[in-house]
């Protein structure tokens, strides 16, 4: 089945230690998104790739970076995680930034910072 896969599902890192979360998709969608979701809150968009074009949200901290080496894979790099970065990180895809913007989410990676 076509899907969005995130690895790992759970990640523990130390304060200040760089961490990378990965996302892959078999939907062949042009757009990939990274969201941060804290407990009982709505997902907050960090950035997205439209094909190879990177689009950063204005309030996304510089500590967060992303790479998309090919259509199928996208990575979220947190250069120096702080305690406030503990959250669920969701990857999503959409076919293109059309009017309906239906997005398909992965299961998420829960990040713990110790």
């Amino acid at each position: 089945d076509a899907m969005v896969i995130q690895n790992p599902r759970y990640q523990v890192t130390q304060f200040g230690k760089p961490v990378t979360l990965s996302c892959s998709q078999t939907l062949n969608h042009n757009v990939m998104y990274w969201y941060q979701q804290k407990s009982s809150q709505a997902p907050k968009l960090l950035f997205h790739y439209y094909d190879k074009d990177f689009n950063n949200e204005a309030d996304t901290p510089d500590n967060f970076q992303s790479r998309r080496p090919n259509t199928s894979f996208c990575f979220l790099d947190i250069r120096s995680p702080g305690l406030g970065d503990a959250a669920m990180y969701l990857c999503a895809t959409s076919r293109d930034p059309g009017a309906t913007y239906e997005q398909y989410f992965g299961p998420g990676t829960r990040l713990t910072v110790t």
Binding site: V4, S40, A42, L45, L90, G98, A99, Y101, Q103, P107
Partner: protein, 111 residues
């Protein structure tokens, strides 16, 4: 203040009851989506509505888009414990804009 306001924020009901969740805005959306998110999982798309006044049904779930495309509702008939989760509405203001999420409604259906 969020662009999309969902109400109620929390809802706890008994199995078999009916419920309605609301998603309201002062802005006009070109489309609106509803997602359900279970604990520890990503949101799952339930429905997309694009036409003012549109009504869509998904088994016991009925979704309505307001005539002015500023609001939407989700009605669940005879709720089941499997309906438990976080319900998120999300809208697109104009083509090319990002999806804007509401704050969510956390539903608990007790047996």
């Amino acid at each position: 203040t969020q662009l999309l306001e969902q109400s109620p924020q929390f809802l706890s009901i008994q199995e078999g009851e009916n419920l309605t969740v609301y998603c309201n805005s002062s802005s006009v959306f070109s489309s609106l989506q509803w997602y359900r998110q279970e604990p520890g999982e990503g949101p799952v798309l339930l429905v997309t509505v694009v036409t003012g006044g549109e009504v869509k049904k998904l088994k016991r779930l009925t979704f309505q888009f307001g005539d002015a495309r500023k609001d939407s509702s989700l009605h669940i008939t005879a709720a089941q414990t499997g309906d438990t989760g976080l319900y998120l509405c999300a809208g697109v203001l104009n083509a090319g804009n990002m999806l804007t999420f509401g704050g969510g409604t956390r539903l608990m259906v007790k047996p």
